[in-house]
């Protein structure tokens, strides 16, 4: 992406500031320090429909999430073989025996969403998916995608 460097160009920095807003989450989470893990379904896989690994994407793009062999349920809903998606942006895998943190790098899709719109600054970013149970704790064994790298132009 070519950032305009002119006396009146200020677009770049404001876009970056928008990231914070775009990632704002509703998922509040009050969690015990250590929670019991829920078991996942055998053969469960969470994966990206889009973007794909190595994709070039605009600053604002939709992440579409696929889930195999399990169901989606909003946070707080206790039901066997269900969970809700967490999108980890530019971060390493979290400890798998604790609730997933909730911040700009750990986006909770607590209403059972299967896609979300992200706004990221230009550059290279990583995305990874992790399914969490009703208490935001990863399942046992964890259902996570591979970490993908995307290039935001």
């Amino acid at each position: 992406m070519i950032v305009r460097r002119g006396p009146f160009a200020k677009a770049g920095s404001s876009m970056i500031r928008m990231v914070g807003l775009a990632l704002a989450l509703t998922a509040l989470h009050i969690a015990p320090a250590r929670a019991e893990s829920t078991s996942s379904a055998p053969g469960a896989v969470v994966y990206f429909h889009s973007p794909l690994d190595g994709a070039r994407v605009p600053q604002r793009f939709t992440v579409k999430i696929g889930l195999k062999e399990m169901g989606v349920a909003p946070a707080g809903v206790v039901k066997e073989f269900t969970g809700h998606h967490h999108l980890l942006v530019d971060t390493d895998m979290v400890p798998l025996d604790q609730p997933i943190p909730s911040d700009y790098n750990h986006i909770h899709l607590g209403n059972g969403q299967t896609e979300t719109v992200l706004t990221l600054p230009a550059g290279t970013h990583t995305l990874q998916l992790l399914l969490g149970d009703h208490q935001h704790v990863p399942h046992k064994p964890p259902v996570m995608s591979k970490k993908i790298t995307i290039y935001v132009r």
Binding site: G6, F8, G71, T82, G112, T114
Partner: protein
């Protein structure tokens, strides 16, 4: 650091007028460039008309010519505090003195200087010549100027043949004007030759139901959401029952000019029964048509007054949960018209809502239902549960199904915890897929 340096450069390049306006926006910057070149041209013209300007400017303190008693200069038809369009023709009046071109040393004459956004220069020296001090050395009494949006001041100052104000000086009062931002011409994005937009659906002359899907096509260019400045791209605008708007302005945003700023390629519109026209117009990141403008031909459709279409709103009462207006359910795989294997995983996409298993009461959620080879069921009743209406009550978002070879239709409907469709219903288009006849395994060719 870089920005500071460039800012300083801006002050040098644009003069005070533009330094004041610094940091307004990128849009303003574009305007500035435009204005800069325009003013450059005016000054260039002035200099060409006036061979003596440099000789005059170099004299340190030339003798000032006396002005006539009661002499005055003024703007004709421009009042203090007026709101003016960006491009305006100013007319200058003078009383009790005569206009003469610069260099003509006739007594009681002079020529106009227009001061934009600046106070009076030193009156015992030649008037500077820059973007804020515009000379009319040819004896012009009117000029067309272009101002950026915002507030500006204008003042006239009479100068003699050497551009020096008279003794006593003859100048007008300061006029404050406000430039109406709506009238500011924006720089249009160029479009490549051969690019076109067209309506895929409905067809010209078609008779359609009140609620219809309109599909847009674009060739030779790319789609990009509004606000994303990218060459050779734009987003659709659907013009309903209106002629093409002005191409040098932002496309209006109202019921007749529907914007698709998220780069959508289809929409659902509800029209009153009768005849209507539809037309597409591509707009750039600022909703401005391209240069040349990319628009489709006008198509005429007839909307039939079918009673079936009126039924759903009437029945909407009975306990249906609301859905957000932008919610949509769609097939990630397969797509309409695709050829698929008999054992295929159907993948569901859901926008603007969340998935919840059946029985979970939570606003803006629901679970998927896959309808195979059946018409859309009534949407004011719970969805039936049988082999052609498959419920995904565990919150699944994909399902491997087995279909017999041949043509099939698939449709997705989201429904609430009691399998009742939402209001408005969140329902996908009914897609057609062809299931391939499977050949013996040994002959099967796989990538």
């Amino acid at each position: 650091m870089t920005e500071r340096l460039t800012d300083f450069g801006a002050i040098i390049r644009y003069g005070n007028l533009f330094a004041l306006e610094a940091h307004v926006s990128v849009m303003a910057e574009l305007l500035m460039y435009r204005f800069f070149f325009r003013v450059c041209f005016i000054i260039f013209a002035t200099i060409t008309l006036d061979p003596h300007i440099e000789a005059g400017a170099q004299q340190p303190a030339p003798a000032r010519k006396p002005s006539a008693p009661n002499a005055r200069v003024f703007f004709i038809d421009l009042k203090d505090g007026a709101t003016i369009p960006s491009k305006i023709k100013l007319r200058f009046g003078v009383e009790n003195m005569e206009i003469a071109a610069a260099g003509v040393a006739t007594p009681n004459t002079g020529h106009h200087h227009l001061l934009i956004d600046t106070s009076l220069p030193p009156l015992d020296q030649p008037i500077p010549s820059d973007f804020n001090h515009i000379h009319f050395g040819g004896g012009q009494t009117e000029a067309e100027i272009t101002l950026p949006a915002g507030e500006h001041t204008l003042q006239l100052l009479f100068g003699d043949q050497a551009h020096t104000p008279h003794q006593p000086p003859v100048f007008s009062e300061v006029i404050h004007v406000k430039v109406d931002p709506v009238t500011v011409e924006k720089t249009r994005t160029p479009a490549p030759a051969g690019a076109s937009v067209f309506l895929i659906e409905p067809a010209d002359g078609a008779t359609v139901a009140r609620k219809m899907t309109v599909k847009f096509g674009l060739s030779g260019m790319e789609l990009s959401p509004a606000g994303t400045s990218k060459p050779n791209s734009g987003h659709h605008h659907l013009l309903i029952d209106v002629p093409l708007p002005a191409f040098d302005r932002e496309i209006p945003s109202d019921l007749n000019h529907v914007h698709f700023g998220r780069a959508q390629t289809e929409t659902e519109v509800t029209l009153t029964p009768g005849d209507h026209t539809l037309q597409l117009l591509l707009g750039d990141h600022e909703h401005l048509p391209h240069d040349p403008p990319i628009f489709s031909k006008v198509i005429r459709i007839h909307v039939a007054d079918s009673p079936a279409e009126k039924a759903p709103p009437a029945a909407a009462a009975a306990g249906r949960r609301p859905a957000p207006p932008d919610a949509a359910v769609y097939f990630i795989y397969p797509t309409n018209g695709e050829r698929i294997y008999p054992n295929s995983t159907i993948r569901f996409g859901l926008r603007g809502m969340g998935v919840a298993p059946a029985g979970v009461v939570k606003p803006n959620t629901g679970h998927h239902h896959l309808l195979i080879d059946v018409e859309t069921p009534p949407l004011d009743q719970p969805l039936p549960s049988d082999l052609s209406h498959i419920h995904f009550g565990n919150g699944q978002t994909e399902k491997k199904i087995t279909l017999s070879p041949g043509e099939h239709t698939l449709q997705l409907i989201l429904a609430d915890e009691k399998h009742m469709p939402h209001d408005p219903p969140v329902i996908s288009e009914r897609i057609k897929v062809t299931v391939k006849v499977i050949r013996p395994v040994r002959k099967r060719y796989r990538r």
